[in-house]
């Protein structure tokens, strides 16, 4: 993955972003620290990255729109440098993955991002072969300019459709 240009992010980001190696960090007006990371996925078809975002202290910051704007600036810079695919799996901690998915999507749907990206989010659920229940929210963001856009969207929909009903 090509490193992001923090100076570029900071042109529009309301919170100052800095990097520590491959981690991107910012702190809110309320002293809450956020860390962002991109990790290459191991799917055999396309170059894609998992987007990781955490507020390690799990402090709530309701109504702080600057967080979303800052995260969007980071993601925009990611796509400037890496015109690939971004995947996001919501943390299932406290069983709040649905809530986190809604928040993440609101950030994206609320901005002009829809003109630039195709965003698909879905719940995948079912049982693993060990009989363990899984329930995850997965989102995929692909730039509309991606040369394999249709194929990527079709494959993603086809794969996740296997998990939208409880099947043995």
């Amino acid at each position: 993955m090509k490193a992001l240009n923090v100076a570029q992010i900071n042109i529009n980001a309301p919170y100052k972003v800095w990097n520590e190696g491959k981690l991107y960090r910012f702190e809110t007006d309320f002293g809450i620290g956020y860390i962002v990371d991109f990790e290459q996925d191991d799917n055999p078809f396309y170059t894609s990255y998992w987007f990781n975002l955490t507020n390690p202290k799990h402090t709530k910051s309701p109504g702080d729109v600057k967080i979303a704007k800052t995260v969007i600036c980071i993601i925009e810079e990611f796509f400037q440098k890496n015109p690939d695919i971004l995947l996001y799996m919501c943390s299932s901690e406290n069983d709040k993955q649905a809530q986190r998915a809604r928040l993440f999507l609101r950030w994206f749907y609320g901005a002009e991002q829809q003109q630039k990206y195709v965003i698909i989010a879905t719940e995948v659920k079912g049982d693993t072969k060990e009989g363990k229940r899984m329930a995850d929210y997965i989102a995929m963001i692909v730039p509309r300019s991606h040369p394999q856009l249709d194929e990527i969207v079709s494959k993603f929909n086809e794969e996740v459709s296997m998990f939208q009903e409880l099947k043995p």
Binding site: D41, N43, F45, N52, L87, M89, E93, T128, M134
Partner: protein, 61 residues
């Protein structure tokens, strides 16, 4: 030839089991990453506390 191989790779379909394993790996990696970040922040907080309590911090001020 390489293009043909790439095309073949993208046309291949993953089985349900392969996709479940993919979700599992992604979930495990994400959880491990969050734990690492939490630990990193705790270490930073500890270092800050040690610095605040140290003699050298007073001098630096």
């Amino acid at each position: 030839m390489k293009d043909m191989e790439a095309l073949g790779a993208t046309q291949k379909k993953r089985t349900r089991e392969e996709i479940i394993a993919w979700f599992d790996r992604a979930r495990q990696r994400k959880m491990a990453w969050e734990k690492r970040m939490q630990k990193k922040l705790e270490e930073e907080a500890l270092l800050r506390k040690q610095a605040e309590e140290s003699h050298y911090y007073d001098i630096a001020l």
